[in-house]
Symmetry: C2
Subunit: 247 residues, 2 copies
Amino acid sequence: MYIRNAELTLSDPMFFYSLPIHVGMLNVVIADAELELIPGGEMLDDYQVRKYAKKRKKPAAEVLLDSNFLHGAIERHFPGGSTRMGRPDIFYILLQVLQESILNKRGGLLRVYIHTKHNKVIHIAPQTRVPKSYNRFVGLMEDLFKKQEIQSGQEKLLTLKDADLFSLLDDLGKEVVLLSPRGGRPSKPEDIIREDMSLVIGGFAEGDFQTDVYSRYSAHSIFPDELTIWSVASEIVVRYECMFGPL
Amino acid sequence: MYIRNAELTLSDPMFFYSLPIHVGMLNVVIADAELELIPGGEMLDDYQVRKYAKKRKKPAAEVLLDSNFLHGAIERHFPGGSTRMGRPDIFYILLQVLQESILNKRGGLLRVYIHTKHNKVIHIAPQTRVPKSYNRFVGLMEDLFKKQEIQSGQEKLLTLKDADLFSLLDDLGKEVVLLSPRGGRPSKPEDIIREDMSLVIGGFAEGDFQTDVYSRYSAHSIFPDELTIWSVASEIVVRYECMFGPL
């Protein structure tokens, strides 16, 4: 047993939410996320990319790849890639769901990590709230890729480090539960949720993991059809809270 | 007891998800939603409104009020209004959460209605999926306000009708549970969820209901601090599914 959130201080408003002693924590780890800056090389000179970067008032190399606006350019440089690459929108919704959840706001039992396809790991601090505007969210991510961290006063709201998925999961040191489209016959969520766990969800809307996750973990599913990543996350987070949370 | 989704036909893929006999259904009713076209009158001539409408390639009167882009214009014409008015973003996220939920996808036990501050009621059919791009979502809502319905083939995905909140709730005919910032001491969600209910959540980020809801219903809350409407909805939807759903 340990006091959760031991890193919080008395002056932190989250501290008072975290007083009860609790034996575990839920890490939500998004893996191989399709979140990246516009890839270097020829794509930076694409006319659509240049126009979009100009609109965002940034050098193209500092602009987030976004298939909502760069669908054609992605197809020109990565044929067939536009259905999967450049999806900041799914992380925008995911983080709105996770950061605003009761488990995060009251429980302090949730930690969120986004591991990207290029082996960057973004840690989102529990007190971080996502901008309401999608455009501002994209701007925030661009700042993060440039500066490696986003602070507010003394608090680090977002940090970005180099790490592969397995190093991250090893560092977190908890039992890993992998959700995957290859998970086969769906489990009841209650049967796979542990009080102290790292839940891995693929950060892509199509296809499968790039990291060789199946060499280390067995795959589970909770639903026979496709689910968005925020639906998976909210199913698990709310059920975790029912099972182990303060409500 | 009745067979749920009796209106579905054998050829509808949802039919097979809805075969088990079930005694109830969850209506999520968003009330007094801050979702409207740009108000008529002087605001239509505001320079910021004209510029934004031009960018959207529509007459200003057919453009959705959006404080993400029209903050200054709202303040000029409705001083103090910009913290509350014009929030399509919260309905975008809410509908991403509700329509993609397991309760909706498998259970067919969920129905979603958005009642707006101007007494319009939007019904979102269970098979409706929200565009991934926020801009396209805004365009879809603008189309709906113009045409009163959005169809895909024979299916009505979205319909818009005139009705006040009480008429809607009376038509739905189920027990009403009102969640409100005035709800006082929080209840356990399980204590207020009914198998056959209409759950009312305020469709605004600040303030209180315009409709005199307290004259008819007592107010409940599930959390001592503020929650976004999608957090409230996902808490209830996942717990409803735990209690009564097919999982």
